[in-house]
Symmetry: C2
Subunit: 405 residues, 2 copies
């Protein structure tokens, strides 16, 4: 694996100033997405305790590895917003920020006197992005904002997984991660409107955890509205596509197949040595293949069980079949494409010298993003950041003793 490209500070967002006042995943990851591309992100954490992600598994030597990823590329500062002096300092941060991300329970910022109107008086150019489980309005606004609950609420688990198993959740926080991406994207929209749209002023963006997932399932609403379709759990098949599944090889690996178009199906039938499938009336087009999906699947399951992954991939490559292995992280570390794309980078780390993590996504031709450092210790950048804010060493000592910073 190669080191991160040497383009420190040259990302597309290097003039953008962001305050990460969030905690856990969705707010902070939105900020990290911008930090990955050069924005200056100042991350605020509770003194002594720090962000909850610091206490999340997996741990090594009592250090959270997840924190090192979500906390990367940020300036790390302690600040207690629940204390009046903390809020006074927060207002100083707000004065020069382009974007603030927060994901407290709706109403918390208002209770602290930090609602948008109050912040806009300090800095009318501020874009305030508020992330919460159910959004800032509506009957469930005050409910806890957990990604799992939002994922369930979005509709996706109801049609993900197998009919004889429960609605299936992903093995990582999908709702938080996708909402973070929407939060970062929409913050940039508001910045564009402020700077290029001619208004010169900011606004509030209300990002829930459930709506981004709901947005992405394109045919869910209209399919029900127009045809009464209620998507069901049918395993890895899709009601609209056949064949599409993951198949186990005789050496215990898995291969994904997506071959619903006629040409991709015919190439698959040739590659597996069963050209007779093409003329079989049950499989003559995608609609028929969907009807006889179980039968087609059984044929493919049996075929894959007779081949190793290497044998399958040789046939697949030769036949230009749309197929690929289900990689786990071992496979990812060994894969030549991951290596060629420099998807895994080695990053300086205060605890372990260097650590490896995923690089920035996507790739920019002229001003690429990069990972300059992993998430560091609590309050690591207090001196630098507070000095710049006009808060000298003596004052910092006083604030520290009061647990304001």
């Amino acid at each position: 694996m190669s080191a991160a490209p040497k383009t420190t500070g040259a990302g597309p967002l290097r003039r953008l100033k962001v305050i990460d006042a969030g905690a856990m995943i969705a707010g902070p990851l939105a900020a990290t997405q911008l930090a990955d591309f050069g924005a200056e992100v100042i991350k605020l954490e509770l003194p002594e305790i720090g962000d909850s992600m610091r206490h999340w598994t997996p741990m090594k030597d009592h250090r959270s590895l997840w924190w090192k990823v979500i906390g990367r590329n940020k300036k790390l500062v302690t600040l207690n917003l629940s204390l009046p002096e903390g809020r006074e300092i927060f207002r100083k941060f707000v004065a020069t920020a382009d974007i603030v991300f927060e994901n407290f329970r709706p109403g918390t910022f208002e209770r602290w006197g930090l609602g948008y109107d109050a912040l806009a008086k300090i800095n009318p150019r501020l874009v305030l992005v508020r992330v919460s489980g159910f959004g800032q309005t509506g009957p469930y606004a005050s409910h806890g904002g957990y990604g799992t609950i939002a994922e369930c609420f979005s509709g996706i688990p109801s049609f993900t997984g197998f009919p004889d198993k429960p609605p299936t959740l992903l093995g990582f926080p999908l709702a938080d991660s996708v909402a973070a991406t929407f939060a970062a994207m929409s913050a940039l929209m508001a910045i564009y409107e402020r700077d290029q749209g001619g208004s010169g002023i900011g606004q509030v963006i209300d990002v829930s955890l459930y709506e981004p997932l709901f947005r992405l399932v394109e045919s869910q609403v209209i399919g029900f509205d127009q045809l009464g379709i209620v998507k069901q759990r049918i395993g890895n098949r899709l009601a609209e596509d056949s064949p599409r599944n993951t198949y186990e090889t005789c050496d215990g690996n898995w291969v994904g197949i997506s071959a619903s178009s006629q040409s991709t199906f015919e190439r698959l039938a040739q590659a597996v040595g069963m050209p007779e499938l093409i003329t079989d009336a049950r499989f003559r087009d995608n609609a028929s293949r969907c009807t006889y999906g179980d039968e087609l699947d059984a044929i493919l399951v049996a075929w894959f069980k007779t081949k190793t992954l290497t044998e399958v991939m040789a046939l697949v490559d030769k036949g230009n079949v749309v197929a690929g292995p289900v990689l786990d992280i071992c496979g990812i570390f060994q894969d030549p494409h991951y290596r060629a794309r420099q998807n895994i980078v080695e990053v300086p780390d205060d605890d372990f010298g260097t650590v490896r993590m995923q690089s920035v996504v996507p790739h920019f031709s002229r001003t690429p993003g990069c990972v300059t450092k992993s998430g560091g210790g609590l309050g690591k950048d207090n001196d630098e950041v507070y000095e710049r804010l006009g808060i000298g060493a003596d004052e910092r000592a006083r604030l520290r003793s009061l647990k304001v910073i």
Copy 2:
């Protein structure tokens, strides 16, 4: 369900000019995300055939419902880029565009003389966003760009689903949808760099379908690098969190629970009338609960089987438990929170009068996005758009007869 808010054309991106030269999902959905917020998106489609999504199920009266969502808010124009005259017209579009999205197989634009260098000569301010299955570089760059294969390649299915079932894919195109969001986000980063970063020029952004998913699984790489962790399929539980699952009620509904923190677990134990779980040594903290996850799960499965969804939700609300129903689309249409947030909007449609679909996400306070129209007929806006480009009625007739437009 309420109609779309009456804020036509007032979205944050109303000065942004976008060309959607993509097909299927990832490129076009990136453009739709910007169109949802007021960008002028001109969608180019093959004459006579149109985008593949026009032929995708679910269909009503031979009209694709999915197309009506992904094609919404766009100006629809036919243009055949594989013909020299088509490319001549494409260059005219490029001259005034801010962003072009394309998702042809890598190398196609170059073969047509439409590589970035050629386009930048026409318009140095252009941001060219290229979406493909495996990206523009690396050994698999030329492989077909199907979302299912990218999802398998990202690592996610290897740890999603149940150990006695295959690696589990989502019931909708996850890789395409998330990549589209990254494509839209990163395009806005490049626009910011061009306009506010001081360069005044565009660049190329290379978005694959697998890297955005790989990016979002924060602890996958570092967990393997530092501790050798290979995430496994363990159903709806997480190795780091317990309890977290979906549970079936006696009336056949499902409820999601996420209660790994001590306070949320204790509230859950009280709400289900089993305070003794709190003092049970096996469940005394999250780490122990993860160790005895099967035992805890069995207790909860049995409890949920004795209650209806209504009974569960009453206890959950009273006890401030982090829990919520697994909704399907029927439940979504009936839910008061979805209604209060106006998540489903009624949109004018050329075929069916009006159709209902998901609204824009997220919510902006001052310049909200909106859905003004569903995806319409092929070439619907040819006259308006080509007239503006200086191509008159006679010339359009000639180009149409040659199947250029």
